[in-house]
Symmetry: D2
């Protein structure tokens, strides 16, 4: 049976922890979790008590998946559909249209290919970088490809992580087209935007979003915590990608998992 | 490799869709998703535009996992720890302490054992029911056990689904103890509260929560959409259960997946 | 000086208290207030501690003022302006365009004219009712006119107050036109919608909103607590109406005040 | 009648406009307003359409009033009451316990007394400053006293306004005690915290909050837009201060109004 194959396998958590104040894009509603009831506020006759909370978040906050409806170009979504929505969100290509993915994942460790733990701020990942990192790996249509920049290492330093001043490393337009050409199911990485952001330029232009979401119909995964995967040395794995089925939304938080054969010493 | 074993496997989505107005407990902050930016609100120089949203939810809304911190008894959480928290939530036993689960799941189809598509409102699931439904199945410590009541079929009828007037079917205290005795990792079902709720009684007492969460340290999964699993006929499967890592929260929405061998005709 | 004139005057609070679970329209985001920090969560070096909260509300929840931008007809707002908006809301005719009002208020006590404490559910207030209630009162252009139905008395009975089944009393289209003809600055009352809602009909058509907001440019005040004013016997008063300056919003909560000469026995 | 006395009077709006991104304390939930329905999303049979929004805010965001429950010292609120609360907030001394104020207001223009439009960042307002600014003015018990620093002029420069790096001007502990000694009903000003904040020190200690809220039972008003009052030259006025009656909350947004005799040229 399927679960027998998992004996000894390791489950790597590829999501950043979600807490009030965590790094996120200023373009999106900030994440906030606060308790509503604490234990003791309401005690049942039998001595029981339940605590609960409210969670406020954008759909593009923390580790998340971009729906195809997230980005339009000249008023059109992927496939030339009009980029219309109403108070219920998007009738199609919302995040609820993304079928949960359980399949092959491939890591292209560009930082590793450069021999560094983390790429410099503002570094543009090139096609050459991707080809070097993919050396020896097969990428099939329908796979999910993750690009390792090591940027997860800066998570605790929010200002650097967001990169408003110094930029963040990520794929340029050419690298985006290279990914699109592979026919992958989704692609993503560790930064808030899966883009090369030059210092001080911010999110003025997001070509990789246009190429992947609008032109190729490929979903994007952002703000992933790839460290455990990068450090495992494993480049092919079973990936689980199951964003919440928020009907009509342009994105959703997700807790991606990589399942890998047992790693010695773990 | 692991993913090769999945060739032809089906991935069943066990989460209810999340939309404003969906059935939920009146004890928790109501779910709401609304777009903030729509396409055309802000158009970049290159003709690109991004839509986004805000999501407001309780941690116990839609398909979700209860953290051990959710319920206390006489001021204590599981293991006798004081049920204290602050503005950051719970320092331990929050939902972020639940390690993502990828492992064996077992379905006890009590509705099926009764030969009905859905159990009556207010029906108490007994130990005898569970034993009959478990006939021929092994349950190992660390497994996740799901109880099928068929209640997912009422999702579209919110008033009935919530069951304030007529109650909902679910395990009574004895059934809860039976589950606890198995040493499972988590247990859950289709109703908002994984409890037997008698007509008109509401959530006055929640013995199964006390037994599982406080006494046994077993997480609970609620408001699952078990229909595709019930209809598949499969009773053992690979279950993925990865609630969002909301630090310090007492619960989190989740999109559970059941991976099963290919079903003929699907 | 102005404040000397107020010696002995009474300040009547015309707002309903705002709390989680209060009656409101299901068409608007529900009000919720919850504490984030409680005392003791964070204690400063000097022994000080601050508690705070989050407030989530619609702009048309609790006692509130409707901005002209709230309602359109055939795609146009008041004055024939296109009913367009973006992620920042409305560039004009939002609630921030309503200048705070400190001026004359007039109460037309229709319930009193009928000799009842509260009008029946589903009662349509007619022009004749308004004329009788206005007997002996002058209404000048620019005044604010409030219509007393006594409906505030049902505030504690949320289901009745909302009136989904039995309706609520309020002005019909003819009464709305009568008000519009007076050239008043704003008009309002005690119910959630300042309309006559027939039993079981809900908010299918809202003619008074069209007449006042779209055709006449007159703001509407809803869910007022008029009881203290009705019971005072005073029909002319100094009214303060100062909704929050939420830029671009279609409405805002408000705490209206009526200042009246001292009432014997108070 | 009261309103006749207002003939020709000017109503000055003392609230800052509320919009997403406005300056506020990072200690409180950020303000956000977004439209839910836009015109055209749902059109009624008669061609009518209604737009609406959601508003998310802290109680201490924008122009607001601090309730006595906001601050405790050594676990006690004003009057020695225990600083306890539950999921409904505070049973007493919440902002709903603040009776709406319509009465005398006095402006102490400290910036003007220094001959500057705005006091320097980090300037501590002293007792001497207050006495000079109060020269020729009477302050009675029960009045509301506002302190002019001119800081409203920096509203458009959010970073400077918040003052995390350079501080903000405001009363020190001695000035706070001077105010408390007057027995005023409330006191406030233009900055986010009604305190002297030295450069780089942040909100580590808030002595004026302790003195006014905890020791003297005097409410505080913050983030006021005093410019129109400062520029009017008027120092005594009719003040309206009516925070929303949010039951159990520690503060609420408010739109304070100053009513002054007609100003020549307006």
């Amino acid at each position: 049976m399927l679960w027998n194959d998992l004996a000894g396998a390791a489950v790597l958590d590829l999501a950043q922890p979600m807490r009030t104040g965590m790094p996120q894009s200023p373009n999106h509603p900030p994440f906030r979790m606060l308790l509503e009831r604490r234990h003791g506020d309401m005690v049942r006759a039998d001595g029981g008590s339940a605590a609960n909370e409210i969670i406020i978040t954008g759909g593009h906050v923390g580790t998340h998946v971009d729906a195809l409806a997230h980005v339009s170009h000249e008023g059109l979504l992927y496939g030339g559909r009009p980029a219309v929505s109403d108070h219920r969100g998007f009738a199609e290509m919302g995040i609820d249209d993304f079928p949960p993915y359980v399949g092959r994942g491939v890591l292209l460790d560009v930082a590793g290919a450069h021999g560094v733990p983390v790429l410099p701020a503002g570094y543009e990942v090139t096609v050459d970088d991707l080809e070097k990192a993919a050396d020896g790996l097969e990428i099939h249509p329908g796979d999910v490809v993750l690009i390792g920049t090591g940027w997860s290492r800066h998570w605790a330093d929010g200002e650097r992580f967001v990169g408003a001043r110094d930029g963040v490393p990520g794929p340029g337009a050419a690298a985006g087209r290279w990914l699109a050409g592979l026919g992958v199911r989704a692609a993503g990485g560790e930064t808030i935007a899966f883009e090369h952001l030059a210092p001080g330029k911010g999110h003025a232009l997001l070509p990789v979003h246009r190429i992947l979401l609008v032109e190729a119909g490929i979903n994007i995964i952002e703000t992933m915590r790839l460290l455990p995967l990068l450090e495992s040395g494993v480049r092919e794995f079973l990936l689980v990608l199951n964003p919440l089925p928020v009907v009509g939304a342009t994105g959703s938080p997700v807790r991606p998992l990589a399942v890998i054969p047992a790693v010695a010493g773990e």
